[in-house]
């Protein structure tokens, strides 16, 4: 058995999506730790955006349960209005954004609103928050998901946060200015999207699973990327930093 949790590996995979110097729309939960990890390893010049109006070029000193916790405000480089912060996103300043969802489909569309019929939903989910804005306006989108057949339907019942829509040039057709999902980081693997069709494909399976298990846990016939491989395990240094950030394992256990 691996000496790390799936969530810890997901944090590492999320951090690896952050390039040095990039402006990252961080959001909540695992990406909060991924941002801290990236800052302390390969991306010291990365800058974080938060939809409550914060810009940070240093991670917070303590674990955050919400982006509005006091440690996230202390030492921010800008604490402004949500509309002014979102204006940076709308102008195209965010190179990468993170979002999570309850359901993601074959083209990376996310549902965080309604399971089943909107008028009489089987499950009412909390909604977009800033997720739909990040999915609409960030230059690249990384999606964080628990991976099972229920959460990976061929088509989501409600598009809260637009991915590649129906695939192909759908984003251009509906008028979205840029962006689209680049990676889906799950409890079982890391998925990407094929260049032209923008259909989801498996890029790597986590060490404690297999490509077949990932496919069996996906609600459609998942394609495999030509260069598919096993997800590189976290390094000791990465795990040390993650456990410093989340000593109780609130998000990573």
């Amino acid at each position: 058995m691996a000496d790390y949790t799936p969530q810890e590996l997901m944090v590492v995979c999320a951090a690896r999506e952050i390039r040095d110097g990039e402006v990252v729309f961080v959001g909540m939960r695992l990406p909060l730790i991924a941002f801290a990890l990236a800052k302390r390893t390969h991306a010291p010049e990365a800058v974080g955006l938060f939809e409550n109006g914060l810009v940070r070029d240093t991670p917070s000193r303590e674990l955050l349960l919400t982006m509005g916790d006091a440690p996230n405000i202390l030492g921010a480089e800008w604490a402004t209005r949500t509309t002014a912060l979102m204006g940076l996103l709308a102008q195209g300043h965010a190179n990468l954004g993170f979002v999570g969802g309850a359901e993601v489909d074959r083209f990376g569309n996310l549902n965080t609103s309604y399971i089943g019929d909107r008028a009489h939903p089987a499950v009412k989910l909390p909604g977009s928050g800033g997720g739909a804005d990040i999915a609409s306006l960030a230059r690249r989108l990384a999606i964080i998901m628990a991976h099972d057949r229920k959460r990976f339907p061929a088509r989501v019942s409600y598009i809260t946060s637009p991915g590649w829509g129906e695939g192909g040039d759908w984003r251009v057709r509906v008028g979205l200015p840029r962006g689209g999902p680049a990676a889906v980081i799950t409890t079982l693997g890391v998925l990407g999207f094929a260049p032209e069709t923008h259909e989801m494909e498996l890029r790597s399976w986590h060490p404690f699973t297999t490509a077949d298990e990932v496919r069996a846990s996906t609600g459609w016939d998942l394609r495999i990327a030509p260069d598919v491989r096993e997800t590189p395990a976290p390094t000791a240094n990465e795990l040390r930093i993650i456990r410093e950030c989340d000593p109780q394992g609130f998000w990573t256990h």
Binding site: M67, A79, A90, S113, A122, V123, G130, A132, G175
Partner: protein, 305 residues
């Protein structure tokens, strides 16, 4: 200058009629006016429209208590725990009664209030294109921009009947200093017909006037100022107290069933007359454990000449 200082129960009675639209939780997770929300529940207000970005559990509480007929928000739930059971019961089974849900994103609800603040009929945005939020929205409509013809969604102005905002300090004339994560507090205060401030401290006007750039909105927008120390618990107030994460977990546990929630409501809202009694029930030890311990003062600023 006449004072706008009122007791909380009178401010809610006078400025939050049944059927009113109220902006709440506008700073997202911090500065949520829980004390004001609980007084709204105690007064049995009905048919309210709630407006907010990420509202955390106050919206779930008001929905569960039957005060709400419509929610205009980007997110309703429990930020650190996940779903809101009362929100689910209302949306899925119409318990305690059905609610109309108008979905937004944080940007679109912020732009709707900004349009109201600017006195413009709408703001065109490029977010949410292709989403079902836009497709199902009763007010947002698509239109190409006459400049360059790119696709946009037109977000019409929102004017809440009242914005209820918790702040660090205010004066009796109706001006407040707020700091930390601001969210859409300013847009809500300026777009609303009026504002009720609940404040940790009531300070002399000179304190507020000493830093006019820190003032949230002018007094002409203020309905009432209420002194409610601890009025945002369990949400945090920068410089005063931290988020009581455990309270959100306890609420999550104790709102799983309507019966659980009824008991929770009796213990923490209906069974306490005011915020002082609420904090007494919370217990001095727990309350003190949340207090800010390490002062971090802003660098001095000189307005002199």
């Amino acid at each position: 200058m006449t004072t706008k200082l009122l007791p909380l129960d009178e401010a809610i009675r006078r400025f939050v009629p049944d059927g009113a639209s109220i902006a709440l939780g506008c700073a997202l997770e911090p500065l949520i006016p829980f004390a004001a929300g609980h007084e709204i529940i105690r007064q049995g207000k009905r048919d309210l429209t709630l407006i907010g970005p990420i509202s955390d559990i106050l919206f779930d509480e008001l929905i569960g208590a039957g005060c709400v007929s419509r929610v205009i928000a980007a997110w309703v739930g429990n930020v650190s725990e996940g779903l809101g059971y009362n929100n689910r019961r209302a949306a899925e089974r119409g318990q305690p009664h059905p609610i109309e849900i108008v979905d937004h994103s944080n940007y679109s609800v912020g732009l709707a209030l900004l349009a109201g603040a600017l006195g413009v009929p709408y703001i065109p945005m490029r977010s949410l294109l292709g989403s079902d939020i836009a497709r199902n929205h009763p007010d947002i409509r698509p239109a190409p921009s006459p400049f360059g013809s790119e696709a946009t969604l037109l977000v019409p102005a929102l004017h809440p009947d009242v914005a209820i905002l918790h702040v660090q300090r205010a004066d009796v004339e109706g001006r407040a200093h707020v700091w930390g994560g601001l969210g859409i507090c300013e847009e809500a205060a300026l777009a609303a017909r009026g504002v009720i401030y609940t404040a940790e401290e009531i300070v002399p006007a000179e304190t507020i006037l000493s830093d006019p750039n820190r003032v949230l909105a002018p007094a002409m927008k203020t309905f009432a100022v209420v002194h409610v120390p601890g009025g945002a618990h369990p949400s945090p107030v920068q410089g005063y107290y931290n988020r009581d994460h455990a309270a959100y977990a306890e609420y999550h546990e104790h709102s799983r069933s309507p019966e659980d929630f009824a008991a929770w409501l009796q213990e923490w809202v209906l069974g306490v007359p005011d915020r002082a009694a609420y904090l007494g029930r919370l217990g001095a030890e727990r309350w003190q454990s949340l207090a800010a311990r390490e002062p971090r003062l802003a660098a001095p600023v000189d307005y002199g000449y």
